[in-house]
Structure formats: C-alpha cells, structure tokens
Amino acid sequence: MKLSLSKIVAAVVVTFGLAAVAQAQNVIVRSLDAAESAKARATIEASMQAASRGQRIGMVTGTVDPQPQISRNGMVSQELDASTLMFSVARVNTDGRVEMVCINSLASAQAAATAPIFAKRISLSSKEQSNVSK
C-alpha cells in the first residue's frame, strides 16, 4: 500500500522521563488520502465479512484464499485474512461488572458476544471463579 506522508495530520512526539536518560520516542499519526483509506476500509471489511462466512480474503490485497508466496531470494510470505485477528469482547454481568476476554476470529468473538455467559477463561483452581462476584 502506498502511504503518503504528505497527509500527516498530527505528529505526536512522546517524551519519556527515564531514570538517567531522557529519550524521545515517536508515535506518528497520519491520515491516508480518501482513496487509499477507502480502499483499506473496503479490503478489511471484505475480509471480515468473508471470515464470518468461513471464507478467507486477504486483509491487504483482498486476494481470495491467499497462499504462501515464495520470492526469488527464498523468502516466503503469506497475506493473512481476518480469521487470524484477535478480538476483545466485553460483557456486563448482573452486578454491573464488566468482563472482557480476548478471542481469535470474528466468528468466535460474535459467538461469545451472543452467548449467555463467557466460557471460563480459567485453567487452574486458584482463579476458578475470578469472574464470579457473589
């Protein structure tokens, strides 16, 4: 994707006060032009929609069922689709407490969001009921 620095709308320079070394770290915010951003939105949306149907469309180029590509130098690349994204899902329990979990794939996230309770995020007894408030 071609990225235009001419469209920088904000440059956020964040300075951290370290114990002995003052050092600048950079986080830069920029807006793509209308066409680029529209394409980016459309591609990810198509990938998300496909993932919800159990199909795979690449998040970058929109390629259907992207496969590994081998370059001349032997490097292998693979475009990913939205099924590999990680999702955060939240639920408000009856006591008003918010419970959040991280889930891979849109389908699993949507299933969790519509399930009556989250599956237990717990594997050992010490926190067996950490999300139970009464």
Binding site: V12, Q25, I28, S37, A40, S88, R97, K120, E128, Q129
Partner: protein, 479 residues
C-alpha cells in the same frame, strides 16, 4: 484501579505532546517508531467531532481527538519498549461492531502478513509476524509493503443498545471505573499484532501451511517433553488442552518469572489453642479486590459473622453490634451467598475487621470476584469443606474471642502460573477455547498479566518486569 499502580502522566502540554515518567530502567535503548494510519472517513471514528470533556489526562475535546490521543498513548508504551529501525505501521479505525445492551465486540487487531526465510530470520522455515520480520531484517521485507497491523474498534460502544452503561473510557490514567479502559484493550490487541501469537492451529495442531511459527520453538508440550516444532500435530493439540502442560521455554520469560509471579499460592493458616482439627494451612483463592496477599499478611483471631435475620446472607448487611464486637480488630469469616463478595468485605471492613475469609457455599475453591476500590483489607476464599472444618473449631468461642488464629500468607513451592521448573504456563484450558487458547499467558498467573486471555482491571500498563512478562516473551521471539 489505584493511580499509584499506573504510570504517572508527567505532562500534557498539548493534545499532541505527551510527557510521561515511566519506570522502565533497562529499556533506555528501546526505540521504535509506530505510525498510526487513521483510515476513518471525515466525521466518523477518529474524526468524530462530537464534543467531549477531557478525562483522565486525555485533553481531547472531541470524541475523535480523545480516541486518537488514547490510541497514541497505548502505542507509545510499545514504542518505548520495542526496538526496530523499521517503522511499525498500524491501520486504525473505529467502526460499528457487533453489540447489544450487555455484550459487544470491542475491537480487533492482528498482523496483516507473515514471513519466513527472510534475511535476518533467526530460525529457518519459521513464520514471523510482519513487524517482527521487519525488525529482524532491518528493512521492510515485503515485496508489496503494507501496514504491519490492522486494527478496528467499536465506535458504537456506550451508545444506546451497545453496552450503553459501560462505554469506552479514553482516560490515560487507568481510572476506568465501570467503563472499559480503551488503553488496556488496545495495548493487549496491539501485542497480538506485534507477534504475541502462534499461527499454528492449536485445535488441530496443524502448522500454518506446513511451517511452524516462531512461537512453536518455545512452546513445550510437557507430556511429550517436546517443543512444538518437534512434536506431532496430535501432541501439539493435546498440549493445547492440557490445562497446565503447555509451557513457555524462552529464557527471557523464564528468567523474569521470579520477579513477576508470586512464589506460592495464597493460603490461610489456622492455628491457636482452640483450632483443634481445624489447624493447618489451606490454599485459598485470591480475590479481585482488596490488597493482594503476596507474602505474610494479616493475622488475628478468627470470628464468624452471623446472619442478621433469616435469609439476609452472611455479611450482607451493615454489621450489628454483635457482629461488630466479634470482628473488630479480627478476621471475619463469612459464607458465600445472597450478596456480592465485595459487599461482605466492605461491611466487615466498616465493622473494623482486618481481613475476610469467604467460605464457598458449593463445591470448589473460591476466588472472590467483583470489585470495590474502597476495600483495603485482604480477602481470601476457601472451600465449603474447609469452611465447615474451621467453623467446627469456632463453636467454643465467646462473643469476642475464639482462640482460633487465622494468618494470611502464601504456601507452596511453585510460582503462580509457572511449572515446577519456574517456566511460564500458557493458556491451555480443556475444552479448547478458540483463539484464547495457546496465544495467551495462563490465566492462573498472579500477578495478572497484560497478555492473559481476560483483560483484568488490575493491570498496570507496564509490559516489563516486575509487573509484566509480555516484553520478555517478545525478546524470546526476537524483538
């Protein structure tokens, strides 16, 4: 969440210049530039001009500004920690996502491409997330460069019909209260996008297109005693549901475990002249509120709390004179039921108790959940059977003395969330939980970790020891 647990915001000179004081000694050489591509249309998402009141150190005066400042703040924490000569580009947007009044998808993030056998790859025939591959190569490895991470968050959160009562909190101070801390959620999801993820199918054990991920060199199937790269697909799948048999063997994480995780589990030791058969040490469940029990803690006479009327629940009402006399300066023993754990703890605290034990009213260990930041005394949960044993020793008590001493501390020879060899455990519940399994630290870890599957309210924003193991895992895989 206590502000003292959070990094201190040092200065907010403007909406685009933030100064922070971070205790990240040892990371002074870290340097990575993160570029956030705002791909929202005018007027929506990051460009939403709806007026907003500055909150929690976020000086934005529109919804869009606040989103961008919070996003920048979370990205800054990773930027200050990671090292890469290649800018990390993140496509970011806010759009409507699946939601209802009580549940909703908050957002998502992930790598857009993966690479193997590029110049600088530390392991052959192994998948790396895009941003990490760039870092190792010292250049953008893609023949068709793109943003390395795609992210998308729910723009409807907090609006009618979409988790209205608990929308996003865009403050930078972790004081989210009953709302959802955007910074914490984004920190976590960006972590996955940066490479906190295996691309091997944990459910089937199948490698992605026949190649292992860099994670698979460090994931150990304890039962097979093989790293995932050496194990069979069946062995990998079995370890993914082994509960406590999926281990991270990376040296950076292992070295940091002693400084991050608690050695031993929370426990209550019962002693005293009247303890009788109740004497002993009981492994207890940590509560999600009140001070954590990290070592020897409070100790005092244990007194039960009586119901103040049939069906009112033990500890659910402000304590009457008899219960107050019983627990003042002592440890209160209440039964689970009728009201929230935090309510019981707060009532006991108000009556002068120095600690609270909550006995389960059903089978199983109890780790009291819920929250009340005003609870300042430690609270632990025990099983119903343990509660009955201890109560039997309390039958001979007077109104203000029991002769039974309860001492809070830790017990055991294992770090909480690590195996016997001190290696971190990864999340491997049975049955397999799509997406949550494998690519997170185990939820048993104590203290809670940023990259556990549940985003806990006591996180500190730090990704470094002694608070957090996330960056150490990144170091293991090449960051």
């Amino acid at each position: 969440m206590s502000a003292s647990k959070r990094f201190t915001l040092k200065a907010l000179a403007s909406a685009s210049v933030i100064g922070c004081a971070l205790g990240i000694a040892g990371q002074a050489q870290a340097a990575a530039t993160i570029i956030i591509n705002n791909i929202n249309q005018p007027g929506v998402g990051f460009n939403d001009t709806t007026p907003a009141v500055p909150v929690g150190g976020n000086t934005g005066t529109t919804l869009g500004q606040q989103r961008l400042i919070a996003f920048t703040y979370a990205a800054t924490i990773w930027s200050a920690t990671l090292t890469s000569s290649v800018p990390i580009i993140v496509n970011a947007q806010f759009t409507p996502l699946t939601c209802s009044a009580t549940t909703g998808v908050l957002g998502s993030a992930g790598a857009t491409q993966i690479f193997a056998d590029f110049a600088g790859a530390q392991r052959p025939n192994t998948w790396y997330a895009y941003a990490l591959a760039n870092k190792l190569a010292g250049t953008n490895v893609a023949t068709s460069p793109s943003p390395q991470i795609s992210s998308n968050f729910n723009s409807n959160l907090g609006t009618p019909g979409c988790l209205e009562t608990s929308g996003w909190y865009y403050g930078l101070d972790g004081q989210e209260g009953t709302r959802i801390d955007f910074v914490a959620v984004l920190q976590h999801e960006l972590g996955h996008g940066l490479g906190f993820q295996t691309f091997t199918n944990g459910s089937t054990g199948a490698f992605n297109n026949g190649r292992p991920s860099i994670w698979d060199h460090f994931l150990l199937s304890a039962a097979a005693n093989k790293n995932w790269v050496e194990a069979t697909a069946a062995e990998r799948a079995a370890s993914a549901i082994s509960v406590n048999g999926l281990i991270w063997t990376g040296p950076a994480v292992t070295a940091a475990v002693p400084s991050v995780l608690r050695f031993g589990q929370a426990a209550v030791t019962i002693s005293g002249v009247a303890a009788g058969a109740g004497a002993g040490t009981y492994v207890a469940g940590d509560s999600s509120f009140g001070p954590a029990v990290l070592g020897p803690s409070i100790s005092g006479q244990l007194m039960p709390v009586a119901e103040q009327g049939a069906g009112t629940g033990s500890g659910c009402l402000p304590f009457n004179a008899a219960n107050t006399l019983a627990v003042t300066g002592r440890v209160a023993l209440v039964d689970r039921g009728t009201c929230g754990f935090a309510v019981k703890a707060k009532n006991a605290q108000n009556a002068g108790a120095i600690g609270v034990i909550i006995a389960n009213n059903a089978a199983g260990l109890l780790a009291p959940g819920g929250g009340d930041p005003s609870v300042t005394i430690p609270v632990l949960g025990i099983t119903q059977a343990q509660g009955n044993t201890i109560k039997a020793a309390l039958l001979t008590r007077s109104r203000s003395r029991s002769g039974v001493i309860a001492s809070f501390g830790v017990f055991g020879t294992q770090y909480t969330g690590a195996d016997l060899f001190g290696r971190a455990q990864m999340f491997a519940p049975n049955p397999f939980q799509g997406g949550s399994s494998v690519s997170h630290f185990d939820s048993a870890m104590f203290r809670n970790q940023l990259m556990e599957p549940a985003i806990n309210s006591d996180l500190t924003q730090s990704v470094l020891p002694p608070q957090d193991l996330s960056f150490r895992l990144f170091q293991d895989i090449g960051w």
